[in-house]
């Protein structure tokens, strides 16, 4: 039985109905993960402990009510979300031996819903990167073409899904880190509204941009995951107090009267590959067939989104990562001999040897942008442009319900292709970072494959807290066979 072809919601239903034993499901995905990870390096750690929880679920009487529609379904979690007693490395030497002392709220809610973590997903170090090449534990490969990147920073989560190692995954998205790998691996990935999912227990990169995001092959599975994780949290003062919508219940509602805006600047952008442009156009045709009204939308300021992002995010990162000083936890190096301050020497050497190059680049950039004499010209300027970008996007949502455009300019690129040119790598994010700057929800939706068999994708963006609408639109695209969930196989 090819369990990897079933949706997580269907797996959950069969486990609850007694048609499948939970422990067999977990064993199946553990075996697949162990077997496929050798080629992909998608998971930093595979955790068989989930079998204990699975056996407990199997022992329970069928009269007991289910904790959630996903009870008993395996999941992989990006190695940046804390889980008590588990190693949480952020794919960094700095945290190679860090054991989380508490559990992130998002993970706690998954555990409370009976979802079973079976692995820690690889990622770019501290989520800084767009290719999972900056991981201290080695690159992750794209299951659709092993010579290519799965994207990043949540590349391990996306690759594990694409290879059918688990039916569910969690990533995080600071500038596109859920959506771009989802696009490169052909899965559905959501960056929710900033504050919709608690950040408590999520190792901080850029606190005003970071969001936890659900990922899966099927739209209903992403909706079910969001349903579990979303909602206010007393431990995160930036979590939104608004009540959580019924995301699963909203799926399938008719789209008549839906106003769809096409982002002209993104679709027509010269960096966009023809096949990506065609994918967006195909999505537009499907949405029109489903009763949506179309409109061209101009977002002139989004061309400044990448430069704004690459000042704001590194500035916040340089501040957040100052905590890694070899004192409270993490890697510690020895001080140099004969120095004035052994303490300062220990801290500097710890940071220099504990962080990889991309993390150091961003810490340096942020430190520069925040330093005396440059603060106004760089950091403050970026925060002003950030407001203008956010307001331009919010104005667009007075006229349309959903914006459609590309996720990334091209399908998955080859490993090493952008590694020596940071600016070219950063331009991979040009269509995704605006959603983080504005705090709005955005969804990567698969859009079939190109001639080389690489996944294509489109992006849907909406007003704050419009996740139910975005997921419903994507659900219609799935039901209309705009995309068909598929697991990658290779020899």
């Amino acid at each position: 039985m090819e369990l990897e072809r079933l949706s997580a919601v269907e797996l959950g239903r069969r486990i609850a109905a007694g048609e499948l034993k939970c422990s067999e499901v977990v064993r199946y995905f553990l075996d697949r993960s162990i077997e496929r990870n050798a080629a992909l390096n998608a998971l930093i750690e595979i955790d068989e402990e989930a079998l204990n929880a699975a056996e407990e679920i199997d022992r329970r009487s069928s009269r007991e009510s289910r904790r959630s529609p996903l009870e008993g379904v395996p999941i992989v979690i990006k190695d940046i979300l804390c889980m008590e007693g588990k190693r949480t490395t952020c794919a960094s030497r700095m945290l190679e031996n860090f054991t989380a002392p508490y559990t992130a709220t998002a993970v706690k809610r998954l555990l409370d819903g009976g979802v079973l973590p079976i692995g820690r997903a690889n990622m770019d170090e501290f989520a800084m990167g767009g290719s999972t090449e900056t991981s201290y534990f080695g690159v992750t490969r794209n299951p659709w073409d092993l010579s290519r990147t799965p994207g990043g920073s949540s590349g391990g989560s996306a690759a594990a899904l694409a290879a059918g190692m688990a039916p569910l995954a969690v990533g995080t998205d600071t500038g596109g880190s859920v959506r771009q790998p989802s696009a490169y691996c052909g899965v559905v990935g959501l960056k929710p509204t900033y504050g919709r999912i608690s950040r408590y227990g999520l190792v901080a990169f850029a606190s005003s941009l970071d969001q936890v995001g659900p990922m899966a092959h099927y739209v209903e599975d992403v909706a079910a995951l969001l349903q579990l994780m979303a909602g206010p949290d007393g431990r995160d003062s930036t979590s939104l107090p608004a009540a959580v919508d019924d995301y699963l219940g909203a799926l399938g509602k008719p789209l008549d009267g839906l106003r769809v805006g096409v982002i002209s600047e993104h679709v027509e952008h010269p960096d966009v590959a023809p096949e990506v442009r065609q994918a967006v156009q195909r999505a537009i045709t499907h949405l029109t067939d489903l009763g949506a009204a179309l409109e061209q939308v101009h977002l002139a300021l989004t061309r400044y989104a990448v430069p704004t992002y690459y000042l704001v995010a590194p500035s916040e990162a340089s501040s957040n990562l100052s905590r890694y000083d070899g004192v409270h936890y993490g890697y510690r190096d020895r001080p140099a001999e004969g120095v004035e301050s052994p303490l300062v020497s220990m801290m500097s050497r710890t940071r220099s040897h504990g962080f990889g190059d991309e993390v150091k680049r961003r810490v340096m950039l942020g430190t520069f942008a925040l330093s005396a004499g440059y603060y106004d010209a760089y950091y403050k300027k970026a925060l002003k442009v950030r407001r203008m970008i956010a307001e331009e996007m919010r104005r667009a949502f007075e006229r349309v319900d959903v914006l459609v455009g590309p996720v990334a300019p091209t399908p998955a690129f080859s490993l090493g292709e952008n590694a020596d040119d940071p600016v070219r790598m950063y331009l991979q994010d040009q269509f995704t970072v605006a959603a983080n700057l504005a705090g709005i929800p955005a969804l990567a939706v698969p859009a079939g494959f190109n001639d080389q068999g690489l996944p294509l994708a489109v992006q849907l963006q909406g007003a704050p807290l419009s996740e139910a609408t975005l997921l419903n639109v994507a659900y219609h695209l799935q039901q209309n066979r705009f995309f068909v969930p598929r697991v990658a196989e290779w020899k």
């Binding site: 002392p101 930036t238 940071r351 680049r361 340096m364």
Partner: protein, 95 residues
């Protein structure tokens, strides 16, 4: 923008990062190219625009002032590179 090696050295010192001379040079070149790239923001007229440091204008995210369990000392020390059971241990501030 031109970045001198001295400027990069100073930023590295502020960030508590150490580089070899070779690394300093390659980092200077990369930082300069990134900074030139972000400098296109100068083209945007931001006269009279307020900064946006946070996506949502949340206010008064307060809870009742009740005593709650925090992390135990033992748990807080568990990941420390060096401790004596009560305190974090570090090398001397002055050698």
């Amino acid at each position: 923008m031109q970045l001198t090696i001295e400027q990069v050295r100073k930023v590295a010192q502020l960030a508590r990062l150490e580089f070899t001379e070779e690394q300093l040079e390659s980092f200077s070149a990369q930082l300069a190219s990134i900074i030139s790239f972000v400098e296109q923001l100068k083209d945007v007229d931001t006269e009279g625009v307020e900064v946006l440091s946070h996506p949502h204008a949340l206010q008064d995210a307060l809870r009742e002032d009740e005593v709650q369990e925090g992390l135990s000392r033992q748990a807080a020390l568990a990941n420390a590179p060096a401790h004596d059971g009560e305190c974090f241990l570090v090398p001397p501030v002055l050698g």
